[in-house]
Symmetry: C2
Subunit: 339 residues, 2 copies
């Protein structure tokens, strides 16, 4: 009799614990930070961003709500953002100086601290799936260039022609930048690239999620920096810079001027402030984004999530596409400051 009571009690406690965890499921996304200003937007374009972010959030939420893992939720959410030409990742990636689209992505599992990353790939439809395959099917963390593409083919990931990633908007953007460069060169005027062409210079998409098992995952994917040269790689595929997750501290995905995010080891610095300095995710994000990076003139933002479901979305640029969804299933999406 005592055994039955004990079993029932354990069952009840187990269910209560699971329900408590289910209450904490959370998914946060970003779609890039930068010079995103209301006066440069049309209502239609704004609505398109909100709609796509809501679609991505709800896809991830459905996975989490149905008992799926934060790993599956993050990957599926990022695939939606990669497939949308609105964001600088996957289809819609910016062009390199040579007229190519070179893509980077990374994924990290907060439970095992396993991670996968790819850089400089041009033929994998969803770079985040390549990062996942590196994590799950190799002993490695980072594969680059043609080697990474060969691996992706062997893994039977969806391969596309490099032209799949082209969009008229990005093609026009790089042409106008090149024209401006030529003018500057001819005039010996090293003037800045016009404001409207700087949009998305540092765009990226990312997602962090907490599942009902208490596990955190972070993922990030990008087309990199417009007009980049020489095989430049930013912070996205660098574990600790653009992407990091540890159940013991937090999950972080960054977007911004990647060089600063690498030099300031932004994602891991936030985790270290949580772990070693006892900061909340909000305080840690504030410290790194609004103090250290502002002092260094490093523009961008991050999304942060801890195992209790506490989240923060700090950024020091004019805007950041961002949003979150929690157990109630209501998607919250934002673009500008003070929203």
């Amino acid at each position: 009799m005592k055994t039955i009571y004990t079993t029932l009690l354990c069952c009840c406690l187990g269910m209560m614990s699971l329900m408590a965890q289910q209450d904490k499921i959370t998914l946060v996304i970003h779609g890039g930070a930068g010079t995103i200003r209301k006066q440069d937007m049309t209502p239609e374009r704004e609505a398109a961003y909100h709609a796509k972010m809501e679609e991505a959030l709800k896809a991830g939420y459905t996975i989490l709500r149905n008992g799926g893992t934060s790993m599956d939720a993050v990957v599926e959410t990022i695939k939606i953002l990669e497939d949308s030409p609105l964001f600088n990742a996957g289809k819609g990636a910016v062009f390199t100086s040579e007229g190519k689209n070179e893509l980077d992505a990374a994924l990290m599992d907060g439970k095992t601290l396993k991670a996968g990353a790819v850089a400089g790939i041009t033929t994998v439809k969803n770079p985040i799936t390549a990062a996942r395959a590196v994590m799950e099917h190799t002993e490695h963390v980072m594969l680059i260039g043609q080697g990474a593409e060969q691996f992706a083919r062997e893994q039977n990931l969806t391969i596309v022609e490099p032209t799949y990633f082209h969009t008229p908007e990005r093609a026009s953007q790089i042409e106008r930048i090149k024209e401006k460069e030529r003018q500057n060169h001819n005039n010996k005027d090293q003037g800045a690239i016009p404001q409207d062409l700087r949009d998305y210079k540092f765009g990226t998409v990312g997602c962090v999620a907490l599942d009902q098992y208490g596990n955190l995952v972070a993922g990030t994917s990008t087309g990199g920096m417009t007009n980049k040269k020489y095989g430049r790689v930013g912070d996205t595929p660098i574990i600790g810079a653009g992407t990091y997750a540890d159940n013991a501290s937090c999950a972080v995905s960054a977007t911004g001027h990647g060089e600063f995010f690498i030099r300031y080891v932004v994602a891991y610095d936030i985790a270290a402030l949580v772990k070693y300095a006892g900061k909340s995710v909000s305080e840690a994000g504030e410290e790194v984004l609004m103090r250290k990076l502002v002092a260094a003139d490093g523009e961008g933002g991050v999304i942060i999530l801890d195992k209790h479901g506490n989240l923060a979305m700090p950024f020091n640029s004019e805007g950041m596409y961002r949003g979150y969804i929690k157990a109630d299933g209501k998607a919250h999406t934002f673009i500008y400051q003070n929203e």
Copy 2:
């Protein structure tokens, strides 16, 4: 009269301060960690390692002693190690699965937090000079593959044929590993690669230095992992993983099983423990190398140096080529544990 006294006093204080700083000049190197055992060595080979490490230490020391910067000292010291076939970096780099030598390097300046890194390059004689050029002559931190090589050519760095990096020892090593793989495949015996072939699997060279101006620099260079595939990149060129420097905490260069060093953000984790948890460089190194990495089965070592000249050289493998030199100009070099 008062002004003269004040000037003289300032002069004296300035000189005393400079002398105090000169007393602190320190340079530390490593030449890779791994299964390095006395019973596998000949006295001649041991002597060759000690001699080359001493040569490298003294070259760096001479620069520091003559008022040079830690940046120059680190780069020149690493060039000597890269040029030696004894170490897995530059000439003497291990072979990839495809029979190539793919090299990675990184450099970070603790004063400015500027950094440069290259990955997957095959034609630059001294990869550390490419890392420096990225840091000093671009807005970027990381360049990879053919783009990085094009940049190096444009910078007039010394370019060599890919075969320059070949050495008979490494060629024999990869041939024997390939043969073992074929045997394992035929026998369906997935036995491990023999002990003697695992030597240097994770070799790397690195240097950290403190100059009389109180500035720290860290640099690392590697041929990567023997038999690596798919454009695998390890921790060496990842700022925060294999290389990190900040005057406010410490300079770190790592060597070991790179994937673990990336996942554990080893170099920056040590700096974070110094900065946020008030640990000494010895305590921080001990915590990360002997506890966190041992628990994760991540083999390797690091060299660490702070702005006071405190240094640590912890490793959890059987040996690590390592050494240091301080203001007295005496080179100390070691290979095994408990030396």
